[in-house]
Symmetry: C2
Subunit: 337 residues, 2 copies
DNA sequence: CTGAAAGCGCTTACAG
DNA sequence: CTGAAAGCGCTTACAG
C-alpha cells in the first residue's frame, strides 16, 4: 500500500502539505496542489481510513443494529428494504455501514459497547420490540442515533403514519360494505402493533361500528405462523367476520393460508388487508390489498436525520412521520355486488 | 471513553502490561492479571478497535460486495439469506461486516480500492454477472476473498450443485409423465444460468428427450419480469410445453403470472418448477416446486473459507460445492392421473 | 515478569 | 504558503 509518506517523498513536499492538498485546504498554492494531486493519481494513493479515523476521532462509519424477534435477520423483508435506502443515502455522504452485534471477541457485551468499540459515528436501530433494555440503553446513549418504528423524544425517530393507514383500511372496507371487520393485532409491546390497533379502533368508531373484543386476535410478532393461528381462532367464532385486517403483510399471508385450508376463499368469503406492502404482497394469489410504507424514503430520511445529528450535535431530535397509501389489489371484495 | 492509559494509571502498571494481560499473554503473573482484569471490568474498558487495527494491520472486519443487476440490493432474497448465514459465522470469530461500494468520498474508485481504504481483512463477493471487469479485478487481487456462484481457481469459490439440481428437476418431471419440458434460462453471462441450462440439457438427454430450441427461452437476469416475458413467448408456440423449468424462483413466479393471465392454470395445464427455494416459494399459490439451495450453510461455509484464507495466506484456494434438494410442492402435476 | 520506546498512517495546531 | 512535531490508542520487539 502506498502511504502519504510515499507521496511526500515522490513530490518532495512534507506529509503536512500533502495532507492539506488532499483535503482541499485553501492555503496551498495551486502549483503545489497540482503537483501533489498528479502524483497521487499516478501512484494510486488514497488515505488509510483507519489512520484517519484514529486522528480525527471520526470513522465515517454508521452502525446498523438489527434486533428482531423472528430470527430472520437480513432476510426481514421490511427492514432490509429500509436499510437498502439508508445505505444508498449514507454512501452518498461517504459513510459505510457496519453491522453491530452484542459481542466483542467472544465476550458478550452490549450493542452500545460494540458501537464504541468500532468507533461508529452514529447508529440506526431497527427493531420490532422496544421493551428490550438493551435497546433503551441505545436510545438514551449520547451516541447519535436514529430509531425506526418507535416514538421517543430522546433521539431521532422515524415511522410511518400507522394510525392513518389503518383508518384508510377501514374506510376502504366500509366502502365495500363490510361491517364485521376483525383485526389481527401484533404483540402489545411493539410500537407499530399498538399504533395499528389504535387506528383500527379509531376507524371503526368513525363509522359507528361496534368493536367486538372477539374480533381482535393476537398475531404475535408479525410472523406468518402468528397470522395463521390468529385466523384459525377467528374462523372458530360463531359469527365469522367478513373482512380481516392484519397488522402486517406476513401475518395477512398466514391468514390467507388458514382461510384456504378451511375451504373458504379470499376474497369471495373473507376479504383480507395487510400492512407494509412487502415485495411478496403483489405476487401472491390473490394479490394482497395493503397499506404501502415508503421503505426507501424511510431509509433515506433516516440517513439524513442521523447525519445531521452527527454534524451538529446540538441539534434537537426530530420525529419524522411518513405518509402511507392504500394499495387496492385482489384480496378485498365488495359485499354489495 | 476509557483508554488503556486510564487502566494503567488506575492499576499502577504500564500500558504494556495492561495490553499483555488483556491479550492473554502467558508471561504475566496471575496476580497482576487479576488486578488488571478486575480494573478493566470495573472501569468498563474495552480496546478501541481502530487503534488496534492501525497497529496490527488487521481490522477484524470483512467486506461485503454486492453486485447485482436488478438494483434490489439487500432486498435480494437469495443473496440476503446467504449474507445472513455469513454474518452469523463471521461474528463468532470476532469479525464485523462492512458494506463496500465503489466510492471513496465523492470520487468513483474501484471496489478493491475501497476495500483497501477500509482495511478489511477479506471480502465476500456476491454477484450474478461475473463479466464485470471490476469483479474480475476483485477475484484476482491478493486480498483474501470468497466468491459466490462462480467458478474460478484464483480464489475461494462456493456454489450449489446447479447441474445436479437440474437433473433432479427433469427426473421429477419425467416421472410425472412430462416430455414436453421447456426451460426459462437466465442470461448467458451468469454462471448459474449456464450451469442450469447445462443441467437441463443433461437431464433431457438422460431420458432421450429431444431438446427443442424453441423450448429454451431467455429470462434475463433472474427477474420476475424476465420470467413473465419468457413464459409469454412459450405460450405463443404452436406446441405449448406441459412443463416449464425456470432457472430461478423469481422467474418461475413471473411465469405463473403469465400463465394465469392467459387463462390457464398451474399445475393443471402447465407444471412449473423453480430453483432456489426463496422464502416466497412456499407462500405463493400454488406453492412452488423448486430446488432448495442451502443458503445458510452457503453463508457459513463461505465465512469459514474466507477466515481460513486470512489466517493462513499460503493455503490453497478451495472450491466448495453444496448439495441441493428437490422440494415437491403444488406447482407440478402428473400427466398420467 | 515488567516497562520504555517505537511505530502504525494520518491530521492539525503551532511556528515561521 | 510550507514544515516539524505532537498525538490519536493501541501492540510488539527489545531490554532488563
Amino acid at each position: 500500500m502506498v502511504t502519504i509518506y510515499d507521496v511526500a517523498k515522490e513530490t518532495g513536499y512534507s506529509i503536512t502539505t500533502v495532507s492539506r492538498a488532499l483535503n482541499n485546504y485553501p492555503d496551498v498554492s495551486d502549483k503545489t496542489k497540482k503537483i501533489i494531486l498528479e502524483a497521487v493519481d499516478e501512484m494510486g494513493y488514497f488515505p488509510n481510513s483507519i489512520a484517519r479515523s484514529l486522528t480525527m476521532k471520526k470513522s465515517f462509519t454508521l452502525g446498523v443494529i438489527f434486533v428482531e424477534d423472528l430470527g430472520v435477520g437480513m432476510k426481514h423483508p421490511f427492514f432490509s428494504a429500509v436499510i437498502e435506502g439508508f445505505k444508498q443515502r449514507a454512501e452518498k455522504f461517504g459513510y459505510d455501514l457496519v453491522f453491530i452485534n452484542r459481542f466483542i471477541g467472544n465476550e458478550k457485551k452490549s450493542y452500545i459497547d460494540h458501537a464504541y468499540y468500532r468507533g461508529v459515528d452514529g447508529i440506526i436501530v431497527v427493531c420490532s420490540n422496544y421493551s428490550d433494555p438493551e435497546v433503551v440503553k441505545l436510545i438514551e446513549s449520547p451516541l447519535p442515533s436514529v430509531v425506526l418504528d418507535v416514538h421517543s423524544d430522546k433521539t431521532n425517530v422515524i415511522y410511518s403514519n400507522n394510525v392513518y393507514g389503518c383508518e384508510l383500511v377501514i374506510d376502504h372496507l366500509y366502502s365495500l360494505g363490510h361491517k364485521k371487520i376483525a383485526h389481527i393485532a401484533a404483540a402489545e409491546d411493539t410500537f407499530t402493533g399498538n399504533e395499528r390497533l389504535k387506528g383500527y379502533k379509531l376507524g371503526m368508531d368513525k363509522y359507528g361500528l361496534p368493536i367486538n373484543e372477539d374480533y381482535i386476535v393476537d398475531g404475535g410478532y408479525f410472523s406468518y405462523e402468528g397470522g395463521y393461528h390468529a385466523m384459525n381462532n377467528l374462523l372458530k367464532l360463531d359469527d365469522v367476520p367478513t373482512a380481516v385486517f392484519a397488522s402486517g403483510d406476513t401475518m395477512a399471508i398466514g391468514a390467507i393460508k388458514a382461510i384456504k385450508e378451511a375451504g373458504l376463499k379470499v376474497p369471495d368469503d373473507i376479504s383480507i388487508v395487510g400492512f407494509d406492502d412487502i415485495d411478496l404482497a403483489q405476487h401472491i394469489t390473490p394479490a394482497l390489498t395493503t397499506i404501502r410504507q415508503n421503505t426507501e424514503l424511510m431509509g433515506k430520511r433516516a440517513a439524513d436525520l442521523l447525519i445531521d445529528q452527527i454534524n451538529d450535535k446540538d441539534e434537537d431530535f426530530s420525529t419524522v412521520i411518513l405518509s402511507v397509501d392504500l394499495i387496492d389489489r385482489e384480496s378485498t371484495k365488495s359485499l354489495t355486488d
